[in-house]
């Protein structure tokens, strides 16, 4: 090391010891993600969260910062997840007003879709030899990420994998929704919206809103109901159904 370096090193030691670095890194990565997303005309492939995760992961790997150290600083952002989950009550309350007596078909479709989501992901992953930690990450991945991570903690699977799989699911759903729903002949906007909300939560919901307001409202409702019912039923299913091994 040359004699001029220690000053910089001292600043670095100070910075990396405070939560500020992790906070600034997290917020600026997310900000960059949002800018790219808007530049890309809100294309679901340019998802701001996925971009932020990639940037932060790349930076902490490059500067050799252990994940635990990063999380120590970023936990202030993480802490707000619970509060944000409670705040989902507002869009759910507004969505309930739009139900107009469709509650029974919607609930039946939600239960069928939620069960399909878990069974197909866990089934395919096991068939192709994924290990137990990865399979655990699939249980709650169709549920909106803040709730999914709470569920993951309750059933002792990784909240991290659950969040990453949830974001990926959202992106895939938003990209594929048109082709899948055309293929099964779903025409009504409320049906299309609800299906993408159940399968691809928040990312699918913003896609639905960009296509048609009625689709968006029902997508938001699908996401909210899946969040609440998933939080109740997924832990019960993992505990009492022998086909799902408790991790």
């Amino acid at each position: 090391m040359s004699p001029s370096i220690p000053a910089i090193q001292e600043i670095w030691v100070y910075l990396s010891g405070s939560p500020l670095l992790a906070l600034v890194l997290t917020l600026s990565a997310y900000h960059a993600g949002v800018l790219v997303y808007e530049r890309a005309d809100r294309n679901p492939l340019a998802n701001p969260v996925a971009i932020a995760i990639a940037i932060v992961a790349a930076v902490i790997t490059l500067i050799d910062m252990p994940y635990a150290k990063y999380f120590e600083g970023a936990q202030f952002v993480h802490f707000l997840l619970g509060t944000a989950t409670v705040a989902l009550a507002v869009p759910i309350y507004k969505g309930l007003a739009a139900l107009r007596g469709r509650i029974l078909p919607l609930l039946a479709a939600l239960l069928a879709g939620g069960a399909t989501s878990i069974a197909s992901a866990v089934g395919v992953a096991k068939l192709l030899g994924a290990d137990a930690a990865i399979v655990g990450g699939f249980y709650a991945k169709s549920v909106t990420a803040p709730i999914a991570m709470g569920v993951a903690e309750r059933i002792n699977v990784s909240p991290t994998l659950t969040a990453v799989f949830a974001v990926t699911t959202g992106i895939l759903g938003a990209v594929l929704v048109r082709y899948v729903l055309d293929a099964v002949g779903a025409k009504a906007w409320w049906q299309r919206g609800f299906a993408v909300g159940v399968a691809a939560h928040g990312i699918g919901t913003s896609r639905a809103f960009s296509v048609h307001p009625e689709a968006g409202t029902y997508a938001s409702l699908g996401m909210g109901l899946h969040g609440v019912l998933g939080a109740v039923l997924i832990p019960l299913a993992v505990r009492y159904l022998p086909i799902l091994p408790a991790a």
């Binding site: 989902l88 197909s120 049906q191 299906a195």
Partner: protein, 117 residues
């Protein structure tokens, strides 16, 4: 804004307490969410301050799960060695979920809500 935040935090607190003592299987914030929906139903409208905070959260919900998701760096070797299984499971599952949900709705719903224009 502060009034809205206080109410939401209050419901989060109640949810955490109920979860701790009565419903350990359900995440506390989800219980808080359900109680807040019930309270909004009783009131019949969303207070402006609560609406403001909820909108702010929902616009930047994604930011809040970045810290936990970055932990994927620790799973990287495992994900890479099972990459095919992970990608296949995610793809198959999201396609099947959308298809099944839409098909059940089509089968059960009497009104069609109008075809897309």
């Amino acid at each position: 804004m502060i009034a809205g935040l206080v109410q939401i935090l209050l419901f989060q607190g109640i949810g955490e307490i109920v979860a701790k003592f009565f419903l350990p299987l359900i995440p506390g914030p989800v219980i808080g969410l359900v109680l807040l929906v019930a309270w909004l139903q009783v009131r019949g409208k969303v207070p402006e301050s609560v609406d403001f905070v909820a909108t702010a959260f929902s616009q930047h919900l994604g930011l809040l799960f970045v810290p936990a998701a970055v932990g994927v760096v620790m799973f990287w070797p495992s994900i890479r060695s099972h990459a095919v299984a992970v990608v296949a499971a995610l793809l198959a599952s999201v396609v099947a979920t959308m298809a099944v949900t839409a098909l059940v709705l089509r089968a059960l719903a009497k009104d069609d809500g109008g075809a897309p224009e």
